[in-house]
């Protein structure tokens, strides 16, 4: 046993010593699904004749992908799931408008050291608080909900050390894109990422959530930030609870290590049509942009709204711009801080608590040949609508600057 965070968490959850490559059975601390996958999970449970949840204190449901429902079929799915919630006695149900599942898990439920399974690939997001969190398909989640456990292969822990602090205009997304550029999409296949932040306050929870979220795009089984004072403060402020950080053992053995000087990062962009087609913003400035989307479980948080408002204050966007804070909570914080007014006066269309355009769902589908800047996590062909749309992924800062200029733009012109 190498003493890494991965092995400590999976060892506890499987009640044995574990090593990378071992196939183990783990008890699940927290499980979840949303509307678009949940109905499929329930269908599988119905086929098995076992529509029940092993522990209702460990199960969360949130409506986000189809929120509010854009079609009759979507509405039908939600009506069916509400019936399931009622008949099963689900305790933690978050209906339309409360927020995107991963943001809700981050705000209210996920804890350091937990094993968290959900029917969505971006479950890695709550690795930001030091949970071993990963997504699975509907059948796997149905089995997990009935049994309270699942099988997995222990991944190889990989250490990423973050030193220094990001310069003005550089955000969590830029680290995620930088890593994708360096290691490639699926570069961490079979591995779990463990991030050690040397100066905890230099990389706040919002940035950590973005990086953990993109862990799945890097192919990682999990993407965890080793809990520190930032983790403790976040959970104290958001949930009024005190947690003790868990840490890897001194001398813990990682398959490899990589150090990033946060101060050397620049704003980055993933160009069409691959999440690892990453370039620094100055190589892409000037590309005309039709549509900007700021939101998603990747970047729909208060710090994203704050930077967008800072850039757009007193100005008007040139590109169509849709802004969606990821939860009611993030929306209300943004409203109280005045960001929603600033963004609305700048000409942005604002709503909250939905995945919407990120996956070409609704609230802004991309048309043929449109150039889109998205703060989401994926830019595959057809991701946001028409297969001929061209999607650039970026931070909220780059997105806001680009909406302002009507073309890809360096946010540092507008910050500091």
């Amino acid at each position: 046993m190498g003493g890494t965070l991965t092995e400590k968490i999976l060892g506890r959850a499987s009640n044995r010593d574990v090593s990378p490559g071992d196939i183990i059975e783990v008890s699940i601390d927290l499980a979840a699904f949303h509307d678009l996958t949940g109905y499929h999970v329930v269908e599988v449970m119905e086929k098995l004749g076992k529509v029940r949840v092993w522990d209702l204190d460990r199960f969360v449901v949130a409506f986000d992908h189809l929120a509010p429902p854009p079609t009759q079929r979507a509405a039908e799915i939600q009506v069916g799931l509400r019936k399931f919630v009622k008949s099963t006695g689900v305790k933690f149900f978050h209906d339309v408008g409360e927020g995107i599942l991963h943001q809700i898990l981050l705000e209210r439920y996920a804890l350091p050291g937990q094993v968290i399974i959900a029917a969505d690939s971006h479950t890695t997001t709550v690795g930001a608080v030091g949970a071993f969190a990963q997504g699975m398909g509907a059948s796997d989640v149905a089995a997990a909900l009935i049994l309270g456990k699942t099988w997995m292969m222990v991944p190889e822990p990989f250490m990423v050390r973050l030193v220094g602090k990001p310069s003005l205009g550089v955000m969590g997304k830029d680290l995620a894109l930088y890593l994708l550029g360096e290691f490639g999409a699926e570069g961490f296949n079979g591995k779990s990422l463990e991030f050690l932040v040397e100066e905890p306050s230099a990389f706040p929870m919002d940035y950590r959530a973005t990086v953990s979220n993109m862990g799945i795009e890097m192919g990682a089984d999990a993407a965890m930030f080793i809990p520190d004072s930032e983790t403790v403060n976040y959970l104290r402020m958001s949930r009024d609870i005190e947690v003790k950080p868990i840490a890897p053992d001194p001398g813990a053995r990682y398959v490899d290590e990589f150090t990033v000087d946060l101060g050397k990062l620049e704003p980055m962009v993933a160009a069409p049509h691959s999440v690892d087609n990453v370039k620094p913003i100055d190589e892409l400035e000037g590309v005309e942009v039709d549509y900007v989307f700021i939101g998603s479980c990747t970047n729909g948080r208060i710090s994203d709204m704050e930077v967008a408002a800072r850039i757009l204050k007193g100005r008007r966007v040139r590109s169509r711009c849709i802004v969606i804070p990821a939860s009611y909570d993030q929306y209300m914080k943004s409203l109280d801080a005045g960001y929603i007014e600033v963004l609305s006066r700048a000409g942005c269309v604002v709503t909250y608590g939905t995945c919407g355009p990120c996956l070409g769902g609704h609230f802004g589908i991309a048309g043929p040949g449109e150039v889109v800047v998205s703060t989401g996590s994926r830019n595959f062909r057809g991701r946001m609508g028409h297969p001929d749309a061209k999607i650039y992924l970026s931070s909220a800062a780059v997105a806001a600057a680009s909406a302002l200029e009507g073309r890809l733009a360096d946010p540092r012109r507008y910050i500091g």
Binding site: I23, L36, T37, H40, E43, V44, K47, L48, K50, L66, T71, R73, A74, I77, A119, D120, S121, Q134, G135, M136, G137, A138, S139, D140, A143, I146, L147, W151, A185, E186, N189, G190, I216, E217, G219, D221, S274, L359, G360, G361, R378, F380, R381, G382, R383, P387
Partner: protein, 161 residues
């Protein structure tokens, strides 16, 4: 477990948004999903796969979303097995859970041509191309093999829940 068929090829990094676009995720009916598999990449794919094929793919096959419909759609369209340079973790599980054998073999893309006849032994990982050339993929073992042998996760679980 022996599976065979003509090879149908796709490239690297074929993600789940391509395998089955998000707009179809309100469906779980295999017959509907089969009609739209690989639509953004090749709208003719369902027709090409319908005779029963072995899908040969590049790196990171099935990367992206956890949507189980990606595996369901491929199988329903006629894909009998997938041999790829590498698989994304969630897709791999979804394939096994739906009784669709998925075997990893780095370098496979340059070893097999479209239309080659491929025979696969799932338990040993052995491939025979056009009756003579032999290749070795990582065999499917352990709980993944038990699930496949049962015909998918549902059958595997029926005796256990």
């Amino acid at each position: 477990m022996r599976i065979e068929g003509p090879a149908l090829k796709v490239g690297d990094k074929v993600d789940t948004d391509v395998i089955i676009p998000a707009k179809y995720l309100v469906h779980t009916d295999p017959a509907i999903l089969a009609q739209h598999v690989m639509e953004p990449l090749d709208p003719e794919f369902p027709k090409k796969a319908s005779r029963g094929v072995i899908l040969i793919a590049g790196k990171a096959f099935g990367m992206g979303s956890s949507r189980e419909q990606a595996a369901i759609a491929l199988k329903a369209a006629g894909v009998r097995a997938v041999v790829a340079e590498s698989f994304a973790r969630i897709f791999y599980r979804n394939a096994i859970n739906n009784g669709l054998p998925a075997l990893a073999l780095p370098g496979i893309s340059s070893q097999v041509n479209e239309g080659d006849h491929v025979v696969i032994d799932v338990e040993t990982g052995e491939l025979i191309i056009n009756g003579s050339r032999r290749l070795k993929a990582k065999p499917i073992t352990g709980v993944a093999l038990e699930i496949l042998r049962s015909g998918g996760l549902m059958n595997y679980l029926k005796s256990r829940v």
